[in-house]
Structures are given as C-alpha cells and as structure tokens.
Symmetry: C2
Subunit: 514 residues, 2 copies
C-alpha cells in the first residue's frame, strides 16, 4: 500500500481535538468572531445547516407541528417563577439592563444611566417559559389540544469554555413545544420527536445514533422524562445530538396552562419539548471527517457534485466551459435522494488542482474534473470523496468515465455514497460498543489505557435513584465517564447491576462524552 499525503496537517489519531479545529478551518465552515463565545458560520457551514433545517423542518411540518416565532427577550419574572420551581436552574445568561448608549465624553460610548430598564430582560437560553405563557393564553378547552408548536431561533447560554458548533454562547436551534390533554398523548409526542430525530440523524446526516432515555441525573431540570439520541464520534466519545422531554404537568402548573375537559372540569396540560441545534454539524464533522477534511453526506451537502473545468485563461476555455455547462444542465435536471441534484460548476479563476483540494477539504461528495482531453474523449474524471485515494499508488482515485454513463448513474452514485457513509459509521460504532462487562474494576480497566480506543460500554444496572444514583455518577466521574442513555432497543436485562450488585432491570450506556 502506497503512502498517502493527506490534505490536513493534523491526523485524527494524533490529536483529535486539533484535527476537529483544522477541519472547520480547512473546510471554511466557521471561525471565531472576536465576540466572546460566538462564532461566524461561513457559507459552507451555514449551507449545511440550511440543508439540515430544511429536512428537519419538512419532518416537523409533516407531523402537523406549526412554526411560530417568540420574543428573544424574556422578563426576569419568568425565570423567578422557574427558579422557584426548578432546582438545577441555570443562571449563566446574557442580561439586558439598558436600552440606550450615550457618549461618555471621552470618545467612547456607555449604557445611558437614564435608560436603565425597570426590569432587566434575559436573552432567551430556551423559550419554555415564554411559550408557556402563550400556551396559557391560547388553550381554553380540550378542542384546542394538542397544541403543537416549533420555533427556529438563536439562543444564548453564557459558556466559559467554548468549542465551535459543539458549545458556543450563541447557537441556532429548533425548539418544539407541545401541550396535550393527558400523559399518554404527551408521551406519544415525546417519542414521535425522538424517532424523528433518529430518522433525521441516520437518514439525512448518515449519523447512526442510539435513541434512549437519559437517567434521572441527566434529565432536563423539571422534566419527568428526558430522551436523547447519542452518536459515537471517531474518538469514541459520545455526542448527545438531540433531546426530547416529557415535562409532565410541572411546566403547565408553573405557567398556568389549563384546559376544560369534555366533562367541564379544569385540568393542567401535559407538555413536551424537544430540540436539536447547530451542534449536529459538530456531529457530522466528527462522524464523517477524515484526514483530508470533511465528508458531507449527499443529503445535506449544499453542492452534491462540483464540476471543475481545467481552465487555462485561453480562448479554448469557452468550449470547455460550454461542455461543462452541458454536463451541469444534464445533472441538474435529475433527482437524487428525492430532490433535484445540487450541482455546481466552479468557474472561479485558479488551477483546477488547487480547487480540487478546496472541495476535498470541504467534503463535496463528488468532484468532477474536466480537461480538454477529457472533453475530446467525451469523458469526465470523477472523484468520490468517500473513496478518495487509490491505495495502490497513493494518488487521487479518479475514475475516467464516459460523460453519458456518469450522468445516467449520478443519482445512484449519490445514493450509494449516502449509504456508504452511514454503513461505515455504523460499523465503527457497533464494533466499539462493548457488552458483557460486569464490574466497576473491568470498567476502569477498559478505559484505563489512554491510547486504546475504548468506545462505549453497555452495562446492566438496577436503575438506582436519588443518592444511590449520585454515588454511581461520582464513581464514573472519577473515570471521566458519564451515563449516556438507556437504549430504547436494548436487550432486556438478565444479570446483575455492575454498580449495586442487585438484580439489573435494564441496560445503560457508559461513555466519555462531549
């Protein structure tokens, strides 16, 4: 096998965290903004987000959920109500105290003391309380239920240590908020959203996930149940990629979300909330990226096929461009994965090879290079981003394909790449979940060797609660481990709890996590 000179400076196995940052910069996805904890999402990163948004939004609308928009500012009183109600109340948020700037007389500006708000406003960290207020206004009788709302918005949580896409002070997300007549209906919605997230992660992002219930200590504050999808990154850590909460009646009673039932009695609604964020993009990078940059699954790629004419700044370029334009038109007229193929003809000045590596680092699924000789032969040089290298000679793995053959097979090729990326990630994930560990000593041993790739453990447990659970969490924390979730589709328990020694009731995932 020939030696390969990869496009990135840092390899995943050498320094995964540095590799992650290099992918973001090499694929030109985002950058630090200079504003504390906030990033600038650049066109390629934002384009991927727009694709995720579009596909998720289609799923949300198909479920009958309606999009709304609620204010970015939340009065302090809403949080006071919540603070009373919810123990683990998070307090790190951006607080607006003034509504005007004035000159300080020294060439600078300061908040105008005359324009101090009577009551400070908080930039929303999540919209539970303000949407709860709206639900209390909107819901009167059982006829108004279920009320299914969603919002696409920016939210702010003041973070001390930030990491692009994974943890930023401002991030973009969707938050679904629904109200129901009873627990049964609310639980069904909680599971519908969870399943929607699983399907979107696996089918659209080609990112295999395990859907399951978070243990009590990992619940959203105030929730009766929190469910998540967990994805395995290429360093073996877990990424919580989406959550769906059944909130019981606790938020409804705090916000006064009541309805008159068919018998005329007044009842509290059962509510849910569920969300995914730009964090998903971090998941895509750490699932599909390789030592040459990002690989974007075709369904969420802003451009699925990029055509690179080998221009020479000469009159002959015109003919070559016309040939490429014909190929572009033929591709754009077709559908793949249920949508018109997104094809881009990159006419920018510059060497084709330099542009090729740009698109390799960005992870466009298919790159097509066309030189005058290819044109003369009616061929195209086709490079699959998921099979970039000829392992025999260490060179780019071009397939010189007759033009008509390529355009006829393009849709199938994109579908194959989508599936390949998923299969590759799923095989890696499945190979790295270890079962059968039966003691904390084995857990410690499993994660002891820093160089090994420990992945996740699926262990049996007795589902301890309260102080007993806290003890488990502390034990794991000492090993830098966390409880991820109780997989929805796991085998039933048939042994003893590795923490308490009691009879196990279910299986739970243990992993290092982002």
């Amino acid at each position: 096998m020939a030696e390969i000179r990869h496009a990135l400076n840092v390899k995943r196995e050498d320094d995964f965290a540095a590799w992650y940052q290099e992918v973001i910069s090499a694929a030109d996805m985002a950058e630090e903004s200079g504003v504390r904890g906030c990033m600038v999402i650049k066109p390629w990163g934002y384009g991927i987000w727009e694709r995720i948004q579009r596909l998720m939004d289609d799923r949300i609308k198909a479920a009958g959920v309606q999009n709304c928009y609620f204010p970015i500012f939340i009065p302090l009183a809403n949080f006071e109500r919540e603070a009373e109600h919810v123990e683990g109340f998070a307090k790190e948020m951006a607080v607006v105290t003034h509504h005007r700037l004035i000159a300080d007389g020294k060439g600078g500006l300061v908040p105008d003391p005359e324009a101090k708000l009577e009551e400070p406003l908080v930039v929303r960290p999540t919209s539970e309380t303000i949407i709860g207020d709206a639900m209390a206004r909107w819901i009167h009788s059982w006829r108004d239920l279920p009320l299914l709302t969603n919002q696409w918005a920016n939210v702010v949580r003041w973070e001390m240590r930030t990491r692009m896409f994974l943890r930023t002070s401002e991030f973009l997300w969707q938050e679904g908020h629904t109200a129901h007549a009873d627990a049964e209906d609310a639980l069904a919605e909680t599971h519908r959203a969870l399943e929607m997230y699983r399907a979107c992660a696996e089918e659209d992002l080609a990112m295999p996930v395990i859907a399951g219930e978070k243990p009590e200590n990992e619940r959203f504050p105030g929730a009766d149940e929190t469910w998540s999808i967990e994805a395995m990154m290429q360093d073996g850590k877990a990424l919580q990629a989406g959550t769906s909460h059944y909130l019981g009646t606790s938020f409804a009673s705090a916000a006064g979300i009541k309805y008159q039932d068919k018998e005329g009695g007044e009842k509290y609604c059962h509510t849910t909330s569920w969300g995914v964020s730009t964090r998903l993009i971090g998941g895509v990078i750490m699932t599909h990226g390789d030592d040459d940059g990002l690989r974007v699954p075709p369904r969420i790629a802003p451009h699925q096929i990029v055509i690179l004419p080998m221009l020479r700044d000469k009159p002959e370029d015109a003919e070559l461009l016309a040939y490429c334009e014909d190929v572009r038109t033929a591709l754009a007229a077709q559908s793949a994965l249920g949508e018109p193929i997104r094809v881009m003809l990159d006419k920018r000045p510059g060497k084709a090879a330099a542009k090729r590596w740009d698109w390799v680092r960005k992870g466009a699924p298919v790159i097509v290079e066309v030189g005058p000789r290819d044109m003369a032969e009616g061929k195209l040089a086709v490079l699959r981003r998921d099979a970039l290298w000829n392992l025999d000679n260490g060179k780019s793995n071009f397939a010189f394909t007759p033009r008509d053959e390529f355009t006829a097979n393009a849709a199938a090729l994109l579908e194959e790449i989508q599936q390949n990326l998923f299969n590759e990630a799923r095989e890696r994930r499945d190979a790295n979940i270890t079962r059968g560990v039966t003691s904390m000593d084995e857990v410690a041993a499993h994660f002891a060797d820093g160089k090994r790739y420990p992945g996740w453990l699926e262990v049996q447990w007795s589902k301890p609660t309260g102080e007993a659970l806290e003890k488990v969490v502390e034990q794991l924390k000492a090993l830098k481990l966390t409880l991820r979730n109780v997989p929805r589709d796991a085998e039933p328990a048939d042994g003893n709890c590795i923490f308490t020694g009691q009879a196990a009731v279910e299986r739970v995932l243990v992993a290092r996590a982002y």
Copy 2:
C-alpha cells in the same frame, strides 16, 4: 346591490389603524407578547413569512449571494467606531451588561454584580460593523471580490411606539452585505438588489411598488446612495418596503476592508447593503386586506386551497372525508405558479360555516366546501377569497363546480387570483398618484381635506441639497408629508421645482408614510 355583512367589526374607511389591528387578530397572525415592543408571530403570520423567506432566498441564491450567520452581540467598540464616523447614529439599542443572574434573597433574581461584562455588548440593530470586520479578515486581493453575503436574522431596535409587523423592537429580516472592487460593480449590485426587491414585491407579494432613490435626507447614515421600493397602502400612505444602499468606501475605510488590486496597489472596497423585513407582512395586510380580513396572494399563502368537509359527527363522515381526501390528493399532485399546490384538508371538529369564516378572515385564496349532496353530485362549492360576495344577493359567492373541472383548472385559478390581486392594487395605486401639481399651495390643498383619499403626489423638483433640502423637509413636515423617492422609471423633468421655483431636474414622490 344587496347589503353585505362583512366579517370584521371595523371597516377600512372608518378607522384604518383599528382595522389593521383587527385583521391581525382576526386572521390569527400575531399578538402582543407581554415583552415590551416584541410580538409573538403565530402560525399563519409566520407561515406567510416562511413563504416570503423561501421565495426571496431563492432569488438571493440565484444571484450568487451566500448565506452566513454572524453573532447577535456586537462589541461597544464597533459602535464607537461608527459613532465617530456616522452623524445620525441611532443609539436606541438593547445593551447586555451582565452574564449571570443570582437570587436577591427576597425570592427574586438580579443581575450578578460579580458577573458584570468588562465591555457591554449590544444586541445587533443591524450587522454592518460586525460583517465589516469579517470582510476585512476575508478579503485580501481582487480575486476575493466581489464578496456577496447575506444573513437571515433577528435584530433589535428599541422602539418607543410599536405597531405589529410595521415597527417592533425585535423583528426578523435579511441583510445582504457585499464588497466590490469599484463603484461601478457596487452600484450594479445595489441596483440588482433593488430590482430583486421590486420583482419579489410585485410577483410574489402581488404588491406594486415604485423603485427609486431616496433623497439625501432619507439616506441610511453613512450611505452614498439609498434606494427603496415604496408601496401604497389602502389608506393612501406610503410604506417603505425594502432598501438597497450603496455605501461607497465609507464603511470599508471604517472597518479596514481593503484589497490588493491587479497592479499590487492597496485599495478600499466599495460596499453595499440591502434588506427587507417582517414589515413586508404589514404591507401585504394593508395592500390586500379587505373588510372581511386578510387576502393572501397565492404565491405566499401557506395553504392555497382549503377543503372543508361538512362533517356531522356521524358514520357517513367517513365517506365524505374519503371524497375530500381524493380531491386533496388530485390537487397536491399538481403545480401552480411553479410549485406543488399547497392544499389543506381541514378535518378539525366544528361547523363548516364557522371554519369557512376562519379561513376567509385568514385569507386563504380558495375555500372549497363539500357536503354530502355535493359529493353525491360529484361537485364542490368553490369560494374565491378575491371574489367573496355575490353582490346581487349579499351572500357568499359559491361556484358549484364539477369536481374534475375544478381540479383541472385549479392551477389556472390560483394564477388568476395572484394576478387579480396585483392588478387591483396597481390600479388603485396608479389612480392615486397625482401629477401636475406645481406649487406648495396646491400641495397643501391636496392634502387639506382629511376625509379625502389623497394618495401620493409626483412633483418636479430641483433636487436641493443641504440647508435648502432641510427647508423643503420642514415645509412638508408641517403638512405631515415626507419625500419618498425619485422613481427610477419616472418621466424626465420638464418644468420648475415646486419648492425652489428653479428649473426642475427630476420628479420626486411626496406622501404621508408609515
């Protein structure tokens, strides 16, 4: 002509402002949020915004502009830079001074004095300065130009007097920001964006507009040229519905946006910015609404056709629903106005007549009622929202149409309604622009009678600047009038300036305005 009992309590001609509020509430588009100056945009209002977004975004992308996302917070220093630079600097903005809340010991929360920001952050009122910083980082040479970016975002301007959709403290918008090598290229982009707004307003929103240049006193602070589209509302006032600015090199020099030209010299870029906002929805209401509620042009209607089965809560309902579902499927398989028809089968419980009036007030373009008798006859009762009343008998103007005929003609019907709404608005607009007024006395007389419908004046002027212009603005202000724009497509001047008596150089619109 029979008397008609309209769906709203307030008629346009009786109290236009109260009518506007009633439409928003009757069509269930938005409501006050309880947070000062911020509204909740409800599903029907937000659905219209999503349609406008989608159509505008397609136009933006087709022009090669790339979407990005920039931080919501802008450091004070950016505004200090701008305050130095720009005279009419607006200071009413939301200022974040703290990043944590703590309990005050009395059951409340207060900003934590320990968590005071070293430098306050401003919630973006517009992103010129922070995008300017990014452009200064991104642009090195002429090869990087033009740089064409756009952002869909929420922005905040602290407003003392707010009005839903028209003026709110928080609103949603897109802001395009572009950088170019020279004035010629930047001006071309300024005009491309202006023309895009005209086309979107007229073709998508069916809202006729006049594109033209704002006079000097109405320019965006720091801009060399500001262009706008102006729409006439049904009370004869003007609504500025979108603006496109040529910023010269002033923002580039403030932010250091420079490039190396082909000869190796360093030059400042010429920049532009352009935006439209949720204000467009206010324009749609005041252009197309009538005394029965909103009328949504089909291109931007979340549902273009609503099917209402006359359910009786009896077993026979199943057959009726199946019949309606067939009609729905037949319609949804077709395209109108270049997209699949958006059709909704409203299965909610309740009387069909009550639901019909819901959809009339919301302004769904076509409402189809189906009762058991219609089904038996293979017919549908079709109601066009743009021709709601039978003027002879004062009743709903149903057309009982054979089902196959309706589905065969549905696309053409939607296209006709789109065109009708535009024609109606354009005729009203054109009939209410008065030309030939030659003195300020005539202007005063024209707008003197409060009961008349004065519309706009197009007058000739000498394009005064500086103090002479200020004098004109003051004169007009005394009559509650403003200069709107100098229509791009107006006839050349051929008379004298009505303000200065000098030879006129162009024509300018004078109107009351939102």
